[in-house]
């Protein structure tokens, strides 16, 4: 089989893995070597699906001894198989890297023979890159569940980031769909990597030249929509992983049907992309905005509102906290205003040092007034002529796309072609598709 076919098969087999960022570490090339890494991450291209391409993301092999039901590479699936030799893979990486096609390598693999054997092959590919080519660019390696911790340790010294995929958000789902894996085989390497990272931090203080163990930290991924877990459960799990294992990122991947199985959603099921999007928005709120999972969802409201983003939804249900005065509010409070992001909040703090802020100035700072106007005042004043009722707020918070979705859904239920906006039934009173919409709204206003 020639290298073109191998590349095609092994890219195809790896593309459902989402962890493609190249961020989190700053490095320069070693003397006589090649490659640097930028902490901010660099996208080298965007694929036809709009996703960023920054790493050569391939499997070492898609031959797999396991039989995870949701996976194209499962043993029982009839699909063309291929394997790179470690050297082929290293050469490909360097040649792409020299042409500035990629920022580095993302290497995962099916389980070839045994987890240990697979891990050794991956180590060899990385060794060639690091030792022979003196490559300092970014490498993300997937820990193979079940591999010996000594091998994980070697891999971790060669990689910048490691990840162990959670795959499915609960133990039950794992048992059902990934019979060869267990909660333990996933969490054990995760815990091990976390310990090594921490030990390494103290080592580096003690010995200046201690080699760095996965300096860009570890991440994980879970599949959304193949199993019945709710957004609430998923978000709590993500929060727990950030706390317990200090993960740098948790990625969510909307399930794309790749197999027919009575345990899986039907093959024609559309991947829940909007749900995935909401989870990423919520994840962002956990990591950068100081929210906790419990503020965004709770026992009674286990799914995100498909029509408005989690932050708007939260704000609408906490109108008692608003409006905030932009000239006085603290940074952390500003962050909670819909339409104000991390950058605009910082700029507000900066700009108000030189004088009182007015509404017309806020736009220049990057505040999305269309959203923020309902939640802020400037020196006690609300923007002129604004009549705030829950429905006007909601109407303006919904993006055009969401409006379209809402109207579409609604006309489906009622058989009516088009509706006048929000007049009756209102979106906030939980009419219509109860299971989809009603329970998303945390409380009537």
């Amino acid at each position: 089989m020639d290298i073109f076919d191998k590349l095609k098969i092994l890219t195809d087999a790896a593309k459902y893995d989402v962890a493609c960022t190249s961020s989190g570490v700053n490095k320069k090339a070693a003397t006589g070597g090649i490659g640097s890494a930028a902490a901010c991450g660099i996208c080298h291209s965007f694929a036809g699906d709009g996703r960023c391409i920054s790493l050569l993301k391939v499997l070492l092999t898609n031959v797999c001894a396991y039989d995870c039901k949701y996976c194209v590479n499962r043993r029982s699936n009839d699909t063309p198989r291929a394997a790179f030799t470690p050297r082929e893979l290293a050469d490909l990486t360097i040649n792409f890297y020299r042409r500035n096609y990629i920022e580095g390598l993302f290497l995962s693999s099916g389980v070839l023979k045994t987890p240990d054997y697979t891990c050794e092959q991956m180590i060899e590919a990385l060794r060639i890159l690091r030792e022979e080519y003196r490559f300092s660019g970014y490498i993300h390696a997937k820990a193979i569940p079940g591999a010996d911790s000594a091998l994980i340790a070697r891999l971790g010294l060669l990689a910048d980031r490691m990840s162990v995929n959670i795959e499915l958000p609960s133990h039950n789902s794992l048992q059902l769909l990934a019979p060869d894996k267990s909660k333990h085989s996933i969490l054990a390497p995760m815990g091990y990597i976390q310990n090594r990272i921490q030990e390494n931090c103290t080592d580096i203080i003690r010995y200046h030249h201690a080699p760095k163990f996965v300096p860009a930290g570890q991440s994980t991924q879970m599949i959304i929509g193949a199993t019945p877990e709710t957004d609430f459960q998923i978000l709590n799990l993500a929060e727990g992983l950030y706390r317990k294992y200090r993960l740098k990122r948790v990625f969510f991947s909307a399930y794309m049907p790749v197999a027919e199985d009575s345990l899986l959603p039907a093959p024609e099921t559309k991947p829940p992309l909007l749900r995935e999007h909401r989870l990423y928005q919520a994840d962002w709120l956990l990591r950068f905005y100081g929210f906790t999972a419990n503020e965004l969802l709770d026992q009674q409201h286990q799914s995100f509102n498909p029509y408005i983003d989690p932050k708007c939804n939260w704000a609408l249900n906490h109108m008692e906290l608003f409006p905030l005065d932009v000239n006085r509010a603290s940074y952390s409070d500003l962050l909670r205003v819909p339409g104000i992001g991390v950058i605009s909040a910082k700029r507000i703090i900066t700009a108000r040092r030189t004088g009182r802020l007015q509404f017309d100035g806020l736009k220049k700072l990057g505040v999305v007034l269309k959203r923020a106007q309902y939640f802020i005042t400037c020196g006690g004043k609300a923007p002129g002529g604004l009549k705030v009722t829950p429905d006007t707020v909601l109407q303006s918070l919904l993006s055009e796309k969401a409006l379209g979705l809402y109207q579409h859904d609604f006309s489906h239920q009622t058989g009516m072609e088009q509706l006048s906006l929000f007049s009756p039934p209102s979106l906030l009173s939980s009419g219509g598709k109860q299971e989809d919409r009603g329970k998303c709204l945390t409380a009537p206003l």
Partner: protein
Amino acid sequence: MPNRTALMYCYDGSFEGLLCCVFESYEQKEIPLDILLPEMAQGILLPVKEIITDTAKAGRVLGSIPQKMGAPTLEFVRHAFLTCLAHKELYILLFLRLGYRYGPAVLSRLTDPVVDKLFKAVKHLAKESHLFKGFVRFSIFSNVLVAEIEPKNYVLPLLRQHFCERYPEEHFLIVDKTHGMGLVYRPYESAVIPIRKLELPEPDENEEYFRRLWRVFYDAVEIQGRHNPKCRMSLMPKRYWKYMTEFGSAQQKSPRRLEGSGGGKLHF
């Protein structure tokens, strides 16, 4: 503040030249309506004052900027000068006047129209130069990496450090066709020089081989069930595609030329 005078300045297009315009503006207590390059100043009906670049004057203005408004402001102004903002010279002059008045705090006056205008322009520059860190595509001709780009802003000075750190042992060249300039590197020195004419040979077999492999990867990595050309276009506007090998457009059979006067000879 002096009134706007019914007068244009004309300068030589250099940063020093612009600093001399600032000098003149203060000395004469006047603010020009615009600051033009010589080719644009022809045929203008208003009086045009030619500002001669004088190193001593420029040096005095240059020294005063970090002193009066802090080093970050000077860096900001230098970046502003690289942007493609229309009338950037006038905005920089007005900005510096604010700087002399408010000191380092000028950078925080984000709601001032002049500061805001320049901030957005610098942000655009920063964004474009960041994109090019990824979108530059090198082709390898006898072991020299060569890339062409057509940026809106003058990004080469901002790409320098990144690519020098990325390829310390290589010889490379990035040609900015918009501005007729090139970033040249060989271990361990780099320079940005004018390049008005450049002929690239046809890619050899090895080069073609890796371009093809890259296209295989590019096509295979897309999840068809998520096809979303709109999203791709907003993240990677079409004007960048021209030189990106994954689209096959950089694979032209005839050698490409860059026409113009003078020749930047390359020594590797």
